[in-house]
Subunit: 347 residues, 2 copies
Amino acid sequence: MAVPTSRDVAKLAGVSQSTVSYVLTGKRPISEETRRRVEDAMTQLTFHPNAGARALAGQRTRVVGLMAPFGASTHQQGILPFVETIASGLREHDHDLLLVTADEGAEGMARVVGRRIVDALVVMEVGARDERLAVAAGLGVPVIVIGVPEEPGDLPCIDLDFAHGAALAVDELVDVGCTAVALLGYSAVTTQRDLNYVSRFIGGAERRAAELGVTLHPVSPVEVDRASIDAALDAVLGVAGGEGLGLLVPNTEALPVVLRALRARGLEPGADVSLVGVCTDAEAAASEPALTNVSLEPRDVSRRAVEALFRLLDPELGAPVPDGAVELVPPRVTRRDTTRPARRPAA
Amino acid sequence: MAVPTSRDVAKLAGVSQSTVSYVLTGKRPISEETRRRVEDAMTQLTFHPNAGARALAGQRTRVVGLMAPFGASTHQQGILPFVETIASGLREHDHDLLLVTADEGAEGMARVVGRRIVDALVVMEVGARDERLAVAAGLGVPVIVIGVPEEPGDLPCIDLDFAHGAALAVDELVDVGCTAVALLGYSAVTTQRDLNYVSRFIGGAERRAAELGVTLHPVSPVEVDRASIDAALDAVLGVAGGEGLGLLVPNTEALPVVLRALRARGLEPGADVSLVGVCTDAEAAASEPALTNVSLEPRDVSRRAVEALFRLLDPELGAPVPDGAVELVPPRVTRRDTTRPARRPAA
DNA sequence: GACCATCATCGATACGCATCGACCACCAGG
DNA sequence: CCTGGTGGTCGATGCGTATCGATGATGGTC
């Protein structure tokens, strides 16, 4: 026999096809005895339920589309952990992940939803105003957005709390005695893409600096090559001097270059200059010197995104996410070697 | 009306449902007039053919599974371009990409194929002996392997020609006057994973060095941190001296560290020491100094993998890939600043 | 002992499309 | 005028599952 169907299983188990189906879905009570016979038959035939038939009859595919920022000129670095975590999160709910690349744009989403290839969408790297959002919202399937658009329009959004992270970083710098903070901004390409986490981070830093009464020198944008970073440091050190200066580096990729540039001019991070970077804890610990960092763990965001998605998909799992809710994942600052308490603050 | 079906389209166009289907698939001739009416109706209703129904009736899903080395501790860096290129290659053939993460292992493949979620598989990062291969080969669907296993067993394999790349790199070093070549190996973790491109590369270098009568000093394994690389350089320079030494660095991630380490000890790459690295052309050109490199462009491999896949999927597209064929994509060596012709070779 | 729940199972049907055989109209050749 | 095509369309059927209503069996109640 070619590939076994649920009817074959039924015959072998001596039950009807519908009983096999109920064993599979658990939507009606099945006696222990019958269940065992059916399951044995399935094992014996190596039966796999046909996904197409299931989708057709059951109106759900158990596949989720991921709109990933591939193809475009993305800082590709960071997205892999997102994808990976989302994929395994979906698997825990017996769902699969279909990749939709960004070059397909909004019509890619319309296609996979229209054809009922997917039951739901996760849209990554959403910028401040993103044409995909309006389309996604009108598709009639659950959508989770990773990023914080200006106008969420009914779509639940999840992202890291960059503003809060920036504030915590400023706190840390002030804690170790800094009286001025310089912010080495994101590269122009990132800013152009209008991903507003940039402005959220900068805004958070500014607000906190103002509250604490320390000066904030934003330097932006900064490319990742050595020359740009040297130029940025020149500017910063010219204005603020070395004394009491804290550096805030939200651009993960720039971190190693900044460290090198500082040392090249005789400033030891942690001793002569304090520095807080934005990166994962793993990267921070592996760095030399170990970085004090604002941890932005993509896995946290992905996990929550998956949870939110299934609350939408199976409302029994708990209160569905309210429309348009923005969930910000709190960051964490970990002190390592690049910030050290210097002068004892007035106790 | 909820979502339109082909029957709705048929009614609106005044034809039968089967005619709509033939317009869609092109498997029977349709008059110009009828085709236009049907297409208009589809547009008007924003009709999308239901993928589940298509799969059920047509025995094909137009989805390809990608077994990606996610989840494991991979040198995650390199795989994104593969995934991206494969995804868009599939889209050009109106197919989609379903991600299967490596943690699911062989049973993940069995699942997506057994349930007929996918029509075919691409298996990435296949090592010398990979348990997934035997399973994949028995699944009864087209499979393309990226990597070169010891025992391809009927499966078409595609990979970069690391051996040839190594030989070309040795050639280049000898061309610019090197009389000894040191090979800074891969890190232990890469070697442990038994990805045999490591040994293919080393083997290729050894063979060519022997042919040319130059000494080859393999130093392995080399981690990517500065200390390990310094130790490796100590060993190499101790044995071979600076004079006439060429460095061969197959580990992309180690390249910047090696460059820095060399300069730290007063050796200018390209002048005092020659160096050929393995990386993409883009990375090589962006490096400072610009690297002479063996280009291993993942996109080439992905493209060929997709082509081979569709030759298997639609035999009309050309001769199907012969079973067990191993296709090696030739690399290219580009001379940049880290190799410069030194003493004029005897003309 | 007749009656009604409850539980477990069965039969039939629908899901939306691809495909096969049949059919019709039309035209060329004899 | 009849025959043999051929290009174009239609009806009917099947793909494998989920689901609904119905049925039989079982046990408890008055």
